[in-house]
Amino acid sequence: MKNSKETTRYCGNCDSHNSYEYPNKVFCSTRYAQNKKPIVETLWCCSDWNLVSQECYCVKEALKEKKLQARQR
């Protein structure tokens, strides 16, 4: 596991994220508690970011989809 200094910060690798519309959208429990819109883009990020303890494929797959969409345009 990379440490937080080496990792590009995304909602998809933050410990508050849960899958909402895999892989592009995640549900953020921290934002929900703050009465903010809890559904955010996987590749977004905010100041409350905290590295997830066990990585998933969200960021990797969201980046892949983004690339694919860019190519299709």
Binding site: N18, S19, Y22, Y32, A33, Q34, N35, Q54, C56
Partner: protein, 338 residues
């Protein structure tokens, strides 16, 4: 007993011909009368007796992962057909019901699937059933809002798990949902361990909201007089247990507390009695507590409830016939007919 008393009932060999209905198969099992076949056919007999007994209230205790594995509609249909009077369930079973009610699905997988890869894809495994995390998360999001509504309406009043289930059922619009069917048919659903499920974590989400004034309260003790009252008012009580755990103990304890003991009991489980745990305890052992009557019609089937119970339900429905109408005793009391 005399020697000849042991040798009264010879084993009749099964005759399997095509076509064969489920009940015909169960009757062949009864001819054998042995091992699992004998027990399943006896379980059909006991369930049929419960349903034909006009004074009996049928408790249905549900645990394990039967709802995600495909038994959801069967339970909802039994509720709608009035072949179950009271549901006592784990919170998790109703969570999986609610997941599908808000649009989620469960998927066929394999117990050999790569679990670390599943983790990375946000997919959860229940033996060979898969649930994408979105199912839970969408439920969390929707129900956290429902909790807000209930809390604002009830303003600090504590709900029993039965009242909580009723409030949920009222707000789900899926006719195949267990909670919705129970709400529409006025069948109580008790979830004595409600906190030990996603419902508990949704509560955390709901109560963690900034500036939230009213928080939903579910009082675990409030349902005790409710379920004991049902047992107490009903002249006879029967239970169908799939699995065991807290739901089984809740029904049995209510029967004990109302000083009646159950008149009918069917338990379908894979658990063993040797550990002393309740789920595997024999019905004979349960008699020693007064939870099941000594003369009760009872049988314990050792097997996978996902296989056994649909067979039992199909056989009993066939025996009852399409014209069979059941008026649950407690409903008649409510309507002043008793």
């Amino acid at each position: 007993m005399r020697r000849k008393d042991y040798l009264q009932n010879p084993v009749e060999h099964m005759k399997i011909t095509a076509p064969l209905t489920v009940d015909q198969l169960m009757r062949q099992f009864k001819n054998s009368g042995s091992f699992g076949a004998g027990r399943v056919s006896a379980a059909c007999d006991v369930y049929e007796k419960m349903l034909r007994d006009k004074e009996c209230t049928v408790f249905f205790a549900l645990s394990g992962a039967l709802v995600p594995a495909g038994m959801r509609k069967l339970v909802a249909d039994l509720i709608r057909s009035r072949l179950v009077d009271v549901v006592v369930s784990t919170g998790a079973s109703m969570v999986h019901d609610a997941i599908e009610a808000v649009g989620g699905r469960h998927y066929k997988g394999s117990w050999l699937d790569d679990d670390y890869e599943l983790y990375k894809y946000h997919i959860f495994r229940i033996y060979d059933v898969l649930v994408p995390e979105e199912g839970f998360v969408r439920l969390d999001y929707r129900l956290a809002e429902v909790y807000n509504q209930i809390a604002d309406e009830r303003k600090g009043e504590s709900l029993s798990s039965r009242e909580f289930a009723w409030e949920l059922g009222k707000r789900l619009d899926d006719p195949n949902s267990i909670l919705r069917s129970a709400y529409e048919m006025d069948v109580p659903v008790f979830m004595p361990a409600v906190r030990d499920s996603e419902f508990g974590f949704i509560h955390w989400l709901h109560s963690s909201q900034l500036d939230r004034k009213n928080v939903l309260n579910v009082d675990a003790f409030k349902e005790v007089p409710e379920i004991c009252g049902i047992c107490s008012r009903s002249p006879k009580n029967g239970m169908i247990v799939l699995g065991g755990g807290v739901p089984r103990n809740t029904v049995q304890s209510a029967a004990l507390a109302s000083k009646k003991g159950l008149d009918y009991a069917v338990v379908v489980t894979m658990d063993r009695p040797e550990t002393g745990g309740l789920s595997g305890s024999t019905l004979k052992e349960t008699v020693s507590w007064g939870k099941v009557k000594g003369e009760a019609d009872s049988v314990m089937v050792i097997g996978d409830a996902l296989v056994i119970f649909p067979l039992m339900a199909a056989s009993v429905l066939e025996r009852l016939g399409a014209e069979f109408k059941r008026a649950p005793f407690l409903k008649q009391v409510k309507q002043g007919k008793k």
